[in-house]
Symmetry: C2
């Protein structure tokens, strides 16, 4: 499994506390979440000379293969700072220092070119396509995007969507991309745009999986406290793709399971700051929470 | 089963069309939805001399017992006018003419005083308690409320909550009532306030059922078009209570089923204007949609 995206240092403030220059970035969260299912996870990204060695060590411990991580010694790592408010659904971005990420040129090492599962984090759709051009016949291409690309590079995004198998977006992005207020209609519109599998993340309301012949609604895990929502969406993507890469089964039933594993990893992520919620998981702990999703949504006819 | 609440004439505009002076009101939607499970439904409410005979006939056809419907010949029926926008989640109230509803004094006919299932629509919490004072040992009291009473009659509402068994509110009302952004924490707080069973309606995101030892997350039925959201919450309450009154089973499993029946009736309600979505249902049609909720949320471990 291959992941391409940002590796960043995040400064985050929430009503429950704050962290400075903590490990973050879409590729980081995706890789760490997926690492609980599949190994090694190949990561392509870029950091500066300031990127702490302890983060490298942590990623290596999690069996993340860093051959594709470019280190620009004279540059600085992408830095994002944001602040969440009381209700945790809204956040203010305080700083976005792209630094070395601004000129990110994703070069795929030869050893990565035959990756079966390719997960494209939220980067310029032109770069996403550039990545795919370097991969030989991937089995499944999963892509994320965001409002910025939808608004500023609609044509490039449309081209990239044609070569994506799975698109993962949040509800606001789905509506912005398709101009459809109904999420069901928006999903069907996205299927027409290319991806055969659409996943809409709805934060505290769970996620929705739509294919041509199936709609699946997954609840969110009900948490009393959300300490830091940063990375929840990427942890979802990592859990989802990691499970698919592990099982290599794209049946409807297994896609639903993958959505629940994604939701499971996202629920662990938000319980602590930065990637701390994903540090000390175990397969058993993950299975336990997966099963509590069963209890949460199961009912019977009589 | 007894229902107390408003019976109104609604003027509604949505991006899909409009209706003028159509049948509406919380007690109306609750009674009509519940009538598909339990009969007769006893209704206590008030209308003016202008209330069209065809509405009386429709309610009687649906087996709604109107002995408790006061008709103030010289007055006018409660009239509400509102407009929904493109995304259907926000609405503007254009007119609220309380008319005869302003002095509504819910008198429970003797024949109604031994009702087992009592559903209190969204009315003044003082009136809700006045109703309960007239009922002999109800088996289950289900109550609705809204932001107006939470803000303007918090003490009275607190007293009424102590005698409610089930509270049904939407997510914004739950947060307003408890000052808790987490819906799980808000639910637990409401359980401390009185009701042993809490239901939070989340519109297009479904509903959440919380008791002391259970959390259940129900999806919303994915509809391509929502023609008119008016009455969805009351139809939910009607389906929920109707199912419980029919089965007289308050086990966790049956409460979950009741939530799905509530969601089912709400989904039919929003497909047409006014109560039209609830006019020509059948038990079979309802069962079919209930089963599609199973497909929508079911997944298995392997």
């Amino acid at each position: 499994m291959l992941v391409v995206g940002s590796v960043a240092l995040d400064t985050v403030e929430t009503p429950f506390g704050s962290v400075k220059m903590a490990l973050g970035g879409s590729a980081t969260y995706i890789a760490v979440a997926a690492s609980y299912f599949s190994a090694p996870i190949r990561l392509v990204g870029v950091v500066g000379g300031d990127f702490p060695k302890k983060h490298i060590e942590f990623l290596e411990e999690r069996n993340v293969d860093l051959d594709g991580l470019q280190i620009v010694q004279e540059g600085k790592t992408f830095h994002w700072a944001g602040k969440y408010h009381y209700d945790m659904n809204a956040r203010d971005t305080l700083t976005t220092d792209l630094n070395v990420f601004e000129k990110f040129d994703p070069r795929i090492p030869d050893g990565y070119k035959r990756s079966s599962y390719v997960c494209l984090g939220n980067i310029d759709p032109v770069l996403q396509r550039q990545v795919l051009d370097q991969i030989q016949k991937p089995r499944l291409v999963i892509g994320d995007t965001m409002n910025y690309w939808i608004e500023h590079k609609p044509k490039e995004l449309a081209e990239t969507l044609k070569v994506m198998d799975v698109i993962i977006v949040n509800d606001a992005e789905a509506r912005l991309l398709t101009k459809e207020p109904s999420l069901l209609k928006a999903s069907k519109r996205m299927i027409e745009m290319g991806p055969k599998i659409v996943i809409i993340k709805k934060g505290e309301h769970g996620a929705m999986l739509v294919t041509e012949d199936m709609v699946f609604s997954a609840p969110a895990y009900p948490l009393e406290n959300i300490f830091d929502p940063t990375g929840a969406g990427d942890s979802f993507a990592g859990g989802f793709v990691g499970w698919l890469a592990k099982t290599d089964d794209l049946s409807s039933n297994n896609l639903k399971r993958a959505v629940i594993y994604g939701s499971t990893l996202a629920s662990f992520c938000v319980e602590k700051f930065s990637v701390d919620g994903l540090r000390d998981l175990s397969y058993l702990k993950i299975q336990d929470r997966f099963r509590s999703f069963l209890d949460l949504s199961r009912f019977d006819e009589r």
